[in-house]
């Protein structure tokens, strides 16, 4: 890339200003407030507040139900990321083949990405609600006691499926682009050497796709951590019991519903540290892996 040099400092700062203002107002200010809030204990109306140091953090980390939620989030995120990645990869490989109507097929697969999480959840609700859902009723009619409103495992399966489905399109686009950028000559050479399609996929295509796959893994984990609030809120509200309550959902319940701002802020600061960690890992790894 060609470097551009500006005379003086005024112009570059001016050009940077809009972005800096946006980052400051919409990121640093609220994040700073969250950090400050996490050291306070306040009543709901904000009429009295008391500085308590790290007490909120200590309470959160010592709370067994928070630790349960952390474990649950891990299971949930890994399951969502795995399902979303595996099915997207499968679909992308199929779409990459020379088939009739490939374009229509690709477009259809990309559509779910445009569906808002809450709407995605409602679609799944209409399919799997034990009393009004088509498949829910069907399962019950077949003698399987399907009631995700009371069965924690079933509820977890449902939110995982709905969350993963929502992310498949995004992964599909990236995998497809990745597949299309693999040089045909490499695959042809392998074919001439006598490698069968499945072997060609695992020994040639998949390793060449690994930077894309790793990038997507991080993005999917972050998605499962933070963006699945809408799905969970519309389907289960974290229940039954606490069986679908993830860390981000808990931040919402404690802060917005229970009006326990100090604890909620402390939890979001912990989450912020987690995501910063994930991002650092991603940058390090992707940077090393980029020259393949």
């Amino acid at each position: 890339m060609r470097k551009v040099h500006f005379k003086g400092v005024a112009l570059p700062w001016l050009l940077l200003l809009p972005q800096l203002v946006i980052t400051g107002v919409f990121f640093f200010w609220p994040a700073g407030q969250a950090v400050w809030q996490s050291f306070l204990r306040e009543d709901a109306f904000g009429l009295s507040s008391q500085f308590v140091g790290f007490e909120n953090f200590a309470d959160v980390l010592a709370d067994p139900s928070w630790l349960d939620a952390a474990g649950r989030t891990l299971v949930f995120s890994v399951a969502v990321a795995f399902l979303a990645l595996a099915s997207a990869l499968f679909l992308a490989v199929q779409a990459d083949k020379q088939i009739r109507g490939a374009n229509a097929y690709k477009t259809l697969l990309i559509w779910p990405y445009a569906v808002a999480p809450a709407l995605a959840a409602v679609l799944w609700l209409f399919m799997f609600h034990p009393n009004i859902g088509i498949f829910g009723r069907m399962l019950n009619a077949m003698g399987i006691a399907w009631d995700y409103k009371l069965d924690g495992t079933q509820a977890m399966i449902l939110v995982i499926l709905a969350s993963a489905w929502k992310q498949v399109s995004y992964n599909f686009i990236f995998f497809l682009a990745g597949l299309q950028s693999i040089p045909k000559s490499v695959l042809e050479a392998a074919a001439i050497d006598g490698a069968r399609p499945l072997r060609r996929f695992w020994t040639v295509t998949f390793p060449l796709l690994s930077p894309t796959a790793f990038f997507l893994l991080v993005v999917n984990l972050v998605y499962a951590f933070f963006d699945t609030f809408g799905v969970i809120h519309s389907l289960t509200q974290g229940g039954p019991g606490k069986s679908t309550e993830t860390l981000i959902y808990r931040v919402y319940t404690d802060g917005v519903m229970n009006l326990n701002l100090g604890s909620s802020a402390a939890q979001s600061v912990i989450l912020m540290i987690l995501v910063i960690g994930l991002t650092i890992i991603q940058f390090r790894y992707v940077e090393r892996k980029v020259h393949y």
Binding site: A44, L47, S65, L150, G152, G239
Partner: protein, 450 residues
């Protein structure tokens, strides 16, 4: 320097002048409520009638989502100095609002300052008691009060060979009826809406058992939960056993259980008396198929049953924000609106339209005189149930006043769900609820002491 101060004074002057100027037109009163249709429309119609009845004030109603969302929105608005003048708050939020200090304008203070009078002696004791201080001074304006009653599907009763005119009176009969309904192919013999309200709070009240010390929290913020008692252990065991034999089905949290009865799937439901309007409209077979009865009880508990407690919501007058209060004209308008909704004809119409309680005796008598209860059998069940027993409320049946009650209800629902999944027994569920709920109470006590 001097000029700058003049400028500051001038700006302050305009800020003060603005509301004064507005007095030439009607004072606008922001009113946030949490009732979805059709109830929300009926409520806004009452505000509309008030607007037409005079020209000094205009109520601007807006729907803010369900009760919990409305509560959260009002609190957030207060923090941003933009609180509504009046907010409709469900009964669970009462404890939080009472402790809210200068965020709220207590009703007794509002009425004294504006000279508007409302005769609270006419209000049903259960309603008045829920929203007043220990010394009887009113804190908020009662409006849509309900209580939990039982609704049953007469057609399902006929199919199961049960008497459609006689609902089960106690839990032994409940269980039998559920078994008969189940045998007759009714998918969900018994379910409940508002599970903690109907099964924990109401059942405790009618058996005269406190759910929390210090008269369910009326006596102070240092109250502790007392859920793990023999009555609740027995009742949870009943529900768990009924669940296992297919007689009881969990309908979901909050109002979710209503839908199972409204679509005809459930044979019996414990729900808010305010759900009557919906059931009359939606239940297959309509009003002729809708049975209403008082909540069942354990007939070997001596003294039981006494009165049930109310639910629903009341109207709170709020200050604008941490930085300021309200003008005299605004307070007067709020008080006049409250006096308007206290009128017997307004309260009576709301009662007959919706199934919520007639909150005053005059309204109740007026409705009875029209023959409404003979034409709509069962519509007076909630009132009868509120007056059941000796007629005097006890510390266990006056109401519940716990800080952070929204969170405590969620905790109780979670523990019930885990018990019904078979992960824990009745006693464990209650012990966990007590232990987790007391943490909430202690936190609330700590942040609201000052």
């Amino acid at each position: 320097m001097l000029r700058r101060r003049d400028l500051a004074l001038a700006t302050a002057g305009t800020a003060i002048a603005a509301p004064a100027l507005a007095q030439s037109g009607p004072v606008e009163i922001q009113f946030w409520h949490g009732l979805a249709q059709p109830l929300g429309g009926l409520l806004e119609a009452i505000a509309g009638q008030f607007n037409e009845s005079q020209n000094r004030a205009r109520i601007v109603s807006s729907f803010r989502g369900g009760y919990p969302e409305t509560m959260v929105a009002a609190i957030a608005a207060f923090r941003a100095n933009a609180a509504p003048h009046i907010v409709q708050m469900f009964e669970v939020g009462t404890g939080t609002m009472m402790a809210a200090g200068r965020a709220i304008k207590p009703l007794h203070e509002l009425l004294r300052e504006t000279g508007v009078s409302i005769n609270f002696d006419d209000y049903l004791p259960a309603v008045r008691g829920y929203y007043s201080l220990a010394d009887g001074r009113m804190m908020s304006m009662p409006f849509n009060s309900s209580t939990a009653i039982m609704f049953y599907n007469k057609d399902a009763f006929r199919r199961a060979g049960l008497n459609p005119e006689q609902a089960p009176r106690n839990w032994a009969e409940m269980r039998q009826a559920a078994q008969r309904l189940r045998a007759a192919g009714v998918e969900i013999p018994f379910t409940t809406a508002w599970p903690t309200w109907t099964q924990i709070e109401q059942q405790s009240a009618i058996h005269n058992v406190e759910i929390a010390s210090l008269e369910n929290g009326f006596g102070g913020l240092n109250t502790e939960l007392r859920l793990n008692n023999p009555l609740m252990q027995r009742h949870f065991t009943t529900l768990l056993e009924m669940g296992r034999e297919g007689g009881f089905r969990w309908g979901g949290r909050d109002a979710a259980g209503d839908a199972l009865f409204a679509n005809g799937q459930a044979g019996m439901v414990h729900a808010s008396s305010g759900a009557r309007a919906r059931f009359v409209r939606e239940l297959p077979g309509g009003v002729a198929n809708l049975g209403a009865a008082m909540l069942p009880f354990y007939d070997d508990v001596s003294g039981a049953p006494i009165n049930s407690i109310i639910g629903g919501a009341s109207f709170w007058a709020m200050n604008r924000g941490p930085a300021g209060g309200r003008s005299e004209a605004e307070n007067r308008a709020i008080a006049e609106f409250f006096a308007f909704i206290a009128r017997p004809e307004v309260a009576a119409k709301w009662h007959t339209d919706t199934g919520f309680l007639p909150v005053t005796r005059t309204a109740f008598e007026a409705v009875r005189a029209t023959g409404f209860y003979t034409q709509n059998p069962g519509a007076d069940i909630p009132i009868q149930q509120l007056l059941r027993g000796s007629g005097t409320m006890t510390g266990a049946s006056r109401g519940i006043r716990l800080g952070g009650f929204v969170e405590i209800r969620t905790i109780m629902q979670e523990e019930m769900e885990r018990a019904l999944q078979g992960q824990q027994g009745a006693e464990q569920a209650l012990a966990n609820s007590v232990q987790r709920g007391n943490v909430v109470l202690r936190n609330f006590e700590r942040t609201n002491r000052g």
